[in-house]
Amino acid sequence: MAEVRFTLNGAPVAVATAPTRRLSEVLREDCGLTGTKVGCDAGDCGACTVLIDGAAHCACLTPAARVRGSDVQTVEAEDPVLDRLRAAFLRHGAAQCGICTPGMLMAARALLAERAAPGRPEVEEALGGVLCRCTGYQKIIAAVLDAGAGGGREAPDQVRGGVGERTLRLDGGPKVAGSDRFGADIWQRGGLLLKAVRSPFPHAAFAFGDLAAWLAARPGAAHVFTAADIPGRNAFGVIPAFADQPALAEGTARFRGEAVALVAFEDDGSDPDLSEFPIHWTERTALTDPVVAIKGALIHGARPGNQLTQGYVRRGDAGAALAASAHVVEGHVETAFVEHAYIEPEAGAAWMDGDILVIRACTQAPYMDRDDTAAILGLPPDRVRIIPSAVGGGFGSKLDISVQPLLGLVTLKTGRPSRMIYSRTESMVSTTKRHPASISARLGCDAQGRITALDFDGIFNTGAYSSWGPTVANRVPVHATGPYRTPHVRARARAIHTNGPVSGAFRGFGVPQAAVMQETLYDRLAEKAGIDRLEFRLRNALCDGDLSATGQVMEATGIHACLTALRPHWTRALADAAAAPDGQTRRGVGLASCWYGCGNTSLPNPSTIRIGLTPEGRLVLHQGATDIGQGSNTVITQIAAEALGLPVGKFTLVGPDTALSPDAGKTSASRQTYVTGRAAEAAARTLRALILRLGNWGDDARLSLDGPLLGSASGSIDLSRLPSDARGYVLSAEETYDPPTTALDDNGQGRPYAVYGYGAQMVELTVDTGLGRVKLLKITAAHDVGRAINPTLVEGQIEGGIAQGIGMALMEDYIPGRTENLHDYLIPTTGDVPPIESLIVEVAHPEGPFGAKGLGEHVLIPTAPAILNAIRHATGALPSRLPVLPHRLLAAMKGEDA
């Protein structure tokens, strides 16, 4: 141990620490400054960026002893330039989940010290060492430019905050102050620190040696737990009928990274040591290719052909219609495992509150966590309380439980508080991925360019356990046609088990992979038919009253409007491409559309919202829609404010804590704005009706709330004189909304979703034909959101989804054992996302709150196929395998598709 004295945010501090302890650890654990985030412990993500004597450093790579005598500044620092940056970040919507925000702010602070008013290239370069997975960087870059130019000083003006306003993120203040508390940021001292023992093999049998002897030989290790210690059902899964994943494996590990044992160490600051853990592995043959797995040994005995499920949609006679078509194209695509790569690895803490097991962790689905964790632990659900932390990105993977049952097991068994923080690699190896897809399809049209039929067959590698595999298999055939009239359809998607990582939910549930196939076929078919690619899509775009492939009558259909909004940009971009010199660098333009059904596929999907008024005049919104950065805290409040008739500033939010707020469902399937928003609108209208009745005021009364006095032009109600209910509310309303859907029959016919959202994106790029490198120039994105509740948040979703689409198209390839960190697994940096122009289209849907539709997933779907179509436009080559790494593109240009 060494005593290290340094200046921290202007004040002298002294810490006693191991000299080479990471500075990030010292700041977080010893100094209590958890604003410095740890995303990788390897210098790959920059989340832990701090200033040491004014220079940006990764605190995770800095030995504590080295800051002796130095001046260290963290995101918590009081500093006028940092304040200007914070205000600009808020105003621009530059913080979404907020986990990268401290690193971004500090990197920007260092830049502004060097150069007071930097330009965009300098900002991109200075922030190039900090990864963000939510924003697509555009708003961050704009905020830094703005702060550099002197903007951002004024206090942000929080307006009425009704529907359609650019209300500043209501939970944004703590995110830019570094005081938001994520999964790793709150724990009880003196507890246990958990580490999992994980399988190094994709498939292996295992047996434990002498666990007691190993434990006894390690003073810091307090307990070892295995599957034998699990009191309840050792099988979880987001879809109960398919629950098959053990919290701790029993005798066989089915994928690399699967947890097989759990060790609880005394949480005293020492390094947990799992060396020589007594386990004997017998490696078994691993199935990695789903095509092989169909005929291979069964991974789960009850699933013949290793098939988890199959989704199927049939309408008309696709085979006959294709045979009779004037033009037919066919193709094949292969996509990779894609890692969610949120900057916050899974983390949480647990403790007992009397009889109640409390688990605070990052999640997208608190009630599902509660029920699955309770089942594993053999507890009734009401003995488990889930408190969601701030969530540092989710994108689908944090719908599945991770640390929750492990924390619960230890705290329940020992009675002691516990915490668990996944390392970056642990997060990558053990949590879900986007399904790799292998898709073949044929698409036909008549001589006038009207689509006749689609025949689509996809195999989705669903990995070792079920997770959201059934959802992907069911969603894909429904969406396989894209938002186009397709009279004859045969679409099949099979989810096949392998010994790969568990494939689950990832922004779009398989639809982005399907769109790569379908939208690239559209370009080729348009060319065959001799029709402009945008006009070809417009000609076939679904309109109100058309039938979808599932036989659903479409309404509030926005694709036509999106494509129309793009048309002038398309014309301009084609002209620019045609005018570009035809040298080694070739310019191309591509286009792709999307549609996406909001909420569960043909399954109940309710959200409940409660709003109450206390005698003191506190207006409490039980906002149960977990905000993982997408903005539901703000959007749901805006909807409630508009419907109730009081400004957003009057609301106090109570989050999705299972002990405090009713179930607003999971944050997935682009459902929160639509489904929970609709419940919020209903609850607010009910409360308003109660108020109007009580005051005997007219429907158009303008409400005010001043302390306990609830007023209108015609009088006031003194809330303090009203009786309170058991929850302490004098007036309250609770409403539930469940989208009207129907089941799909054997041919996939029915009404799987009540509301669809639409979009179309145009990509302009150049291809360096000597190296196969793609440079994106601009992306123009038109999205029909029904009603933009908050245009800034809409743009944030569009930009962030596009960035993930860029990654999927050009660089992201998760390979177990090879790319299990953020320097081998590449996600886009500031320099990889081009300027994005958002065109917000509003075709109001009668089911949506104020007409709003979902957006979160739609925004990713068109990006990859639009990039591929632009590459083909530039070079004539269409690589069939994602990601389009430089060597693959060069090979495709030579006709050797790798």
Binding site: C58, C60, P63, G129, D271, R818, P886, L890, A898
Partner: protein
């Protein structure tokens, strides 16, 4: 256990070498490679922190040439005023990770880590750099090509420290350029990287030094390409770069970033472009 490990941060080279002579120490420079390699909260083993040794940092011009202290950071190299021959090294310095890594990572650490993809190595090979190794027994100099003996392997003995990189005076002549190819813009391990230094005389290339990274177990000079360029007219020199001459010096592998065949093709293309950029105009 890491908690029992020793840590020393000597202020003099003599002190460091004394400690090192006793054996069992891992030298710590910028930390940008050692920390990612541990899953722990602190580094394991006995750590000899070199960051307080004044003699190891800074760039000094002397009679023999330019001496770059091993502890000089990439940020210091990127912003130093250096002759045009070192432009490639400065360009590489701006491509080593992000700013945070450039502020911590050192040239000596980069060389001792001996990654086949180290950005700093091709420019230094093109500068015919030598490394200075010190031990209690004395000081020795090795050509950089002899120092890095394989992936993650160097000729540094356990009692030695790499104290400086020496650029011989003649190698400070000419102009240089660096190009790096990766699948994304920042923070990327290169698929291939190229450094070229040319000395021109009366419109002709009097001397060419060319090195390629990420295309062999260690970064390699391209002697056949250098020979083909020397004496050639500067204008159009890129046309003298033959793929077979590039391939002769390289032995790339297939990995997650690219195929071996692609690497060879890309290396040739990058060499042509780098030469072309120095010659002026597309491909000179």
């Amino acid at each position: 256990m890491a908690g029992e490990a020793a840590y020393e941060r000597p202020e003099s080279l003599t002190g460091a070498l004394q400690l090192l002579a006793r054996g069992g120490w891992t030298p710590l420079a910028g930390g940008t490679d050692l920390y990612p390699a541990t899953g722990g909260r602190s580094l394991g083993g006995n750590i000899l922190d070199l960051s307080a040794i004044e003699d190891l940092s800074g760039i000094i011009s002397g009679r023999d040439g330019l001496r770059i202290g091993a502890g000089t950071t990439w940020a210091e190299i990127a912003t130093a005023r250096l002759p045009p021959a070192l432009a490639a090294l400065q360009e590489a310095a701006r491509e080593v990770g992000g700013r945070q890594i450039q502020n911590a990572g050192t040239i000596g650490g980069n060389l001792c880590n001996a990654s086949p993809a180290a950005d700093g190595v091709p420019p230094l090979l093109a500068l015919e750099a030598e490394v200075e190794l010190a031990s209690q027994a004395g000081v020795r100099r090795l050509a950089l090509g002899d120092f890095i003996t394989g992936p993650r392997r160097t000729a540094r003995a356990s009692g030695e420290l790499l104290v400086a990189v020496q650029i011989p005076r003649p190698a400070l002549m000419g102009r240089s350029h660096f190009l790096k190819l990766g699948a994304r813009k920042y923070l990327v391990i290169s698929i291939a990287s190229v450094a070229v230094r040319l000395l021109e005389r009366e419109g002709r290339i009097a001397l060419a030094r060319i090195a390629v990274g990420s295309c062999a177990p260690v970064a390699r000079r391209l002697p056949a390409v250098e020979a083909a360029l020397e004496g050639a007219a500067l204008a159009g020199a890129a046309g003298q770069v033959r793929a077979s001459d590039v391939a002769a010096a390289l032995s790339p592998i297939d990995d997650v970033r690219a195929t071996a065949a692609y690497r060879l093709e890309a290396a040739t293309e990058l060499v042509r472009r780098t030469v072309g950029a120095l010659a002026g105009g597309p491909h000179g």
